[in-house]
C-alpha cells in the first residue's frame, strides 16, 4: 500500500518560496500566473498495514512529525498496490 501525503502552508501564511517561484515565472513571461504556493509531497511505501488502521496511522504521523500544524495543513491519499 502506498500513501501520498500533501503538506501545504495554511491559508494566509506568507510563502516566500512560492513567491520566488511566481516572480521567476513572471520573468520568464508566464504572466497569467497569479499566485504560487509551494508545498511538500511525501510518498510512503507501507507494508503490512491494514487499510482500516492506515488512515489513523498516517494522520498520526502527520501530526507528530510530517507537518507542523502551526503553519501547515496536510491531506493524504491511500493507494492500494
Amino acid at each position: 500500500m502506498k500513501a501520498k501525503i500533501y503538506i501545504t502552508l495554511k491559508n494566509g501564511i506568507h510563502d516566500p518560496q512560492g513567491q520566488a517561484v511566481q516572480q521567476s515565472l513572471h520573468t520568464l513571461g508566464f504572466d497569467s500566473v497569479h499566485d504560487v504556493r509551494m508545498g511538500k509531497l511525501l510518498e510512503l511505501d507501507l507494508q503490512d498495514m491494514e487499510k482500516e488502521s492506515a488512515e489513523a496511522t498516517i494522520e498520526n504521523m502527520c501530526k507528530k512529525l510530517l507537518a507542523n500544524t502551526v503553519i501547515e495543513d496536510f491531506r493524504y491519499e491511500i493507494v492500494e498496490t
Binding site: 516566500p16 512529525l65 502551526v70
Partner: protein, 236 residues
C-alpha cells in the same frame, strides 16, 4: 557552573558554544549526546546551532524527537535555563517549548551577515547584563529564520514581554527595512511565558571574543552566568 550543550546529529555549533562556555565565561561545558536521557547535574542547557538531521524535513523537526529532548523538556518544566541558538531555537519551537514556527527567509536564501538587534527585555536570565533598549551587533546564519506565529499568540508575546530581541538599525530603530528574513514584528528572539527558555536566531557565540572583532555576544553568556550564580541552588 555546569553547562550542558546538546549534540544532535548535524549540530555544528556545539563546539563553538563549548569554547565560549569554557574559555570566555570560564565554566564547565559538557557535550551531551542526543541519545542520552539525563541531564544530571547541569545548571543550564544550550541547544546549539547547526543542521540537525540536515534540516531535511523542516528545521528542528526530527531532532525534537531525540531521547534527550524529554529530559530537556522536563528540565525546562522545572525552571531550568534553556538557551536555543539558531537551529537550537528551531528545535525549541518544534518541541513546543516556545510558541510559533519558522518559515523560509523572505528572500529564500541562506543569509550570513552581522545584524543589529535591540534588547527589548533586559529582565531575563539571558539579558540581565544588557541595558533595556541596548543595540547589539550579532551575526545571523540561517535560511529559515522567518518567525511566524498567529495574531493571538503574537499579542500574548508582546503583552508578556516575551519578545526579547528585535532586528533594528544600528541606532536601535526597529523598522521593516532592517528585518533580514521577514520575521513577524521584526522578532529575533523570544522567551517562554515563564521566562526560563530563550530562543534566538542570531549567534552570540560567534562574537564573544576580541579577536573576532565583536564581543557583543558575550553579554548573553555573562547574563546566563549571572543568573546562575544568583540562583546557584538551581541544579535541576
Amino acid at each position: 557552573m555546569n553547562i550542558g550543550i546538546i549534540v544532535f546529529p548535524g549540530s555544528n555549533c556545539d563546539r563553538d558554544c563549548a569554547h565560549v562556555v569554557s574559555e570566555v565565561i570560564g565554566q564547565t561545558a559538557h557535550l551531551i549526546w542526543h541519545q542520552d536521557s539525563s541531564l544530571n547535574g547541569m545548571n543550564a542547557i544550550i541547544l546549539p546551532g547547526g543542521f540537525s538531521y540536515g534540516d531535511y524535513l523542516r528545521t528542528g523537526s526530527i531532532a525534537r524527537f531525540s531521547p534527550i529532548m524529554e529530559a530537556v523538556i522536563d528540565f525546562a518544566g522545572r525552571g531550568g535555563l534553556v538557551l536555543g541558538i539558531c537551529n537550537g531555537c528551531q528545535i525549541l519551537l518544534e518541541a513546543g517549548l516556545l510558541p510559533g514556527a519558522m518559515l523560509r527567509n523572505k528572500n529564500v536564501s541562506f543569509i550570513c551577515e552581522d545584524v543589529y538587534v535591540r534588547v527589548e527585555n533586559a529582565d531575563t536570565p539571558f539579558t540581565n547584563t544588557c541595558q533595556s533598549g541596548q543595540v547589539l551587533r550579532l551575526p545571523i546564519a540561517h535560511a529559515d529564520g522567518n518567525y511566524y506565529t498567529d495574531p493571538v499568540t503574537l499579542s500574548a508575546l508582546q503583552a508578556n514581554a516575551q519578545v526579547v530581541f528585535r532586528y533594528c538599525d544600528k541606532d536601535g530603530h526597529s523598522m521593516p527595512s532592517m528585518n533580514p528574513n521577514g520575521s513577524i514584528d521584526n522578532i529575533a528572539g523570544i522567551r517562554n511565558a515563564k521566562g526560563n527558555v530563550l530562543g534566538l536566531m542570531p549567534h552570540p557565540e560567534r562574537c564573544a571574543e576580541e579577536i573576532l572583532g565583536n564581543q557583543d555576544g558575550r553579554l548573553i553568556f555573562t547574563s546566563l552566568l549571572a543568573s546562575l550564580i544568583g540562583n546557584a541552588a538551581l541544579t535541576v
